[in-house]
């Protein structure tokens, strides 16, 4: 029998604590769309995506209504385009991005991810073409997301790719300067990228995946924060409270994932157990850390609090879902989290502290605005540091930086919506140019040799 308490607890989570399913993402393989003629390949891509995802948005909305759970995004991820485009030997990958945009428009999804390349060990010609096409591709499209995996624990760090990405991000910032360099919010540089991540901008459909899959990303920082408000115990009690809450959140995600999979007749892939904040008040990961007893996110103790949170979310969620994957953990994007924005504004949270925090959370330096005049080599060096943390700790790390064109420390970048606003943060004034200029590969760490 359903109890009144359970019903009202669920209702309160949804109505007042911002509980939602963040995204249903349909992963679609485009490996069968390759052709030596790029136009033919783009047509096949458009046709296949539209065929597979025809009912995605409609079905998502139906589930939303029947279960009363807000499902914020319906999205699509595809095979890394550098693989699909390789056969065409084309000198540009921009037409592929345009085909993806057209398919996104037709299907009514708000983002499509997979304008991507996996170059952790080296580049193919097609990888280079795709990476060089990123600034133009992301400035002539609105909803296409891109990612480049430049490092892995097994392969080490491709420092030539790291060096290249600094310049690409700068160029993209300039090309989208009229929209506050928003293009840079759509590109992520990864180490150990997961191949089934439903969250943007880093989602793509890995080559080890089936033809099509439904992946779901949950959310719910507000629910965890409210649960902790009622928890007066020690940190063991805090961890237990987070686990119980994460369990409930994930069960909801699992239900939505299996319903979507059944109705769309597409295999269920994974549930991503992530706490994804939004700029809305009461939906912040920083505020969870503060609820644990920190005066401000970023102060001493923040890394420990985040480690506890990240671990408890996974432990609580893993039993609630039959398949867990993606990024799974707590996200710490600056611009998308009201508490993080506050903490940066009052100088409690710095770039160095954020870097330390990425060693224990699920992603990396995310949605951070830096001065527009920062050099490409400094951006590359920030990427290299972050990649090193991921590679050595066998975890995913990522960088999504916005070198805000024409802006400097003290200014702010306002994207609005879920992307929020980001105060421009200072970077070191000392150069890393020679280090980045060396290029080559940083060898895989000894802990990669597990066989």
């Amino acid at each position: 029998m359903i109890s009144t308490n359970d019903v009202f607890e669920t209702l309160q989570m949804i109505r007042q604590e911002h509980l939602d399913v963040r995204t249903i993402t349909m992963g679609i393989s485009l490996l069968d769309c390759a052709s030596s003629d790029s136009k033919k390949s783009c047509d096949r891509i458009y046709d296949k995506i539209c065929r597979k995802a025809e009912k995605l948005v409609e079905t998502g909305s139906e589930i939303e209504k029947e279960f009363g759970i807000p499902i914020i995004h319906k999205r699509i991820s595809v095979t890394p385009i550098s693989l699909v485009a390789a056969a065409s030997r084309s000198h540009t990958a921009v037409p592929y991005a345009i085909a993806l945009q057209k398919a996104a428009d037709t299907c009514g999804v708000n983002f499509i991810g997979g304008f991507s390349a996996l170059v952790q060990k080296g580049f193919t010609e097609s990888d280079q073409t795709l990476i060089r096409s990123i600034p133009e591709a992301l400035s002539v499209t609105q909803n296409v997301c891109s990612s480049v995996n430049v490092a892995s624990t097994k392969a080490g760090i491709n420092m030539d790719a790291v060096a290249m990405m600094g310049g690409i991000i700068k160029e993209l910032a300039e090309r989208t300067k009229d929209e506050q360099s928003i293009g840079c919010a759509k590109i992520v540089v990864f180490a150990n990228v997961p191949e089934d991540n439903p969250f943007m901008a880093g989602a793509f459909h890995g080559v080890g995946e089936g033809d099509c899959a439904i992946n779901v990303g949950v959310s719910g920082p507000g629910v965890v924060k409210i649960a902790l408000e009622k928890c007066g115990g020690d940190l063991t009690a805090v961890a237990d409270t987070i686990k119980k809450t994460a369990f409930k959140i994930t069960r909801m995600g699992q239900l939505v994932a299996s319903e979507a999979s059944k109705r769309l007749n597409v295999p269920f892939g994974i549930v991503d157990l992530s706490l994804a904040p939004t700029p809305a008040i009461g939906d912040s990961v920083a505020h969870i850390l503060e609820e644990m007893g920190l005066e401000k996110c970023g102060t001493h103790g923040t890394t420990a609090a985040l480690a506890l949170l990240n671990d408890a979310v996974k432990k609580g969620g893993v039993m609630a879902s039959s398949h867990v994957g993606g990024l799974s953990g707590a996200f710490i994007p600056v611009s998308e989290d009201a508490g993080m924005i506050d903490a940066v504004r009052c100088n409690a949270l710095t770039l160095s502290k954020l870097e330390a925090m990425t060693a224990v959370c699920s992603v990396g330096l995310d949605m951070i605005a830096v001065p527009g005049d920062v050099s490409a080599s400094t951006i590359s060096a920030i990427i290299a540091d972050e990649m090193a943390i991921g590679v050595v700790n066998s975890k995913t790390t990522a960088v999504r930086l916005i070198p805000a064109y024409g802006k400097t420390v003290g200014d702010s970048v306002e994207f609005g919506g879920l992307l929020g606003s980001a105060p421009v943060m200072p970077v070191s004034n000392f150069s890393s140019e020679k280090f980045i200029g060396r290029g080559g590969r940083i060898p895989a760490p000894i802990q990669s040799l597990k066989n």
Binding site: I2, S3, T4, D6, V7, F8, E9, T10, L11, E62, K65, E66, F67, G68, I69, K248, R251, M252, Q254, L255
Partner: protein, 89 residues
């Protein structure tokens, strides 16, 4: 299959009859009602049987919302699976 309907709002004459009339129109059978009036705030939960309904579930949700809106009430009509998933192992 069951649906859980919660109604929250200011108490008024005919509230239960109006909401249950929508259920009857759609052939939705009410199997349990719990309600409470706290000061003048009315809180009600209905468990309903939806197997024999004569409209699509989403249509029923729309009709309940419409009626709730007319009467100034907050109405949530949700499939029971969500509660079973979240609160039962």
């Amino acid at each position: 299959m069951k649906a859980v309907i919660t109604v929250i709002g200011k108490d008024s004459v005919g509230l239960i009859s109006n909401m249950s009339a929508v259920c009857a129109e759609c052939h939705v059978n009410i199997v349990d009602i719990t309600q409470k009036v706290i000061e003048d705030l009315f809180v009600m939960m209905m468990i309903t049987e939806i197997d024999g309904m004569n409209v699509k579930f989403t249509e029923f949700v729309d009709r309940m919302n419409k009626k709730g809106k007319e009467m100034g009430l907050e109405v949530h009509t949700m499939h029971e699976d969500i509660f079973n998933a979240m609160h039962k192992i």
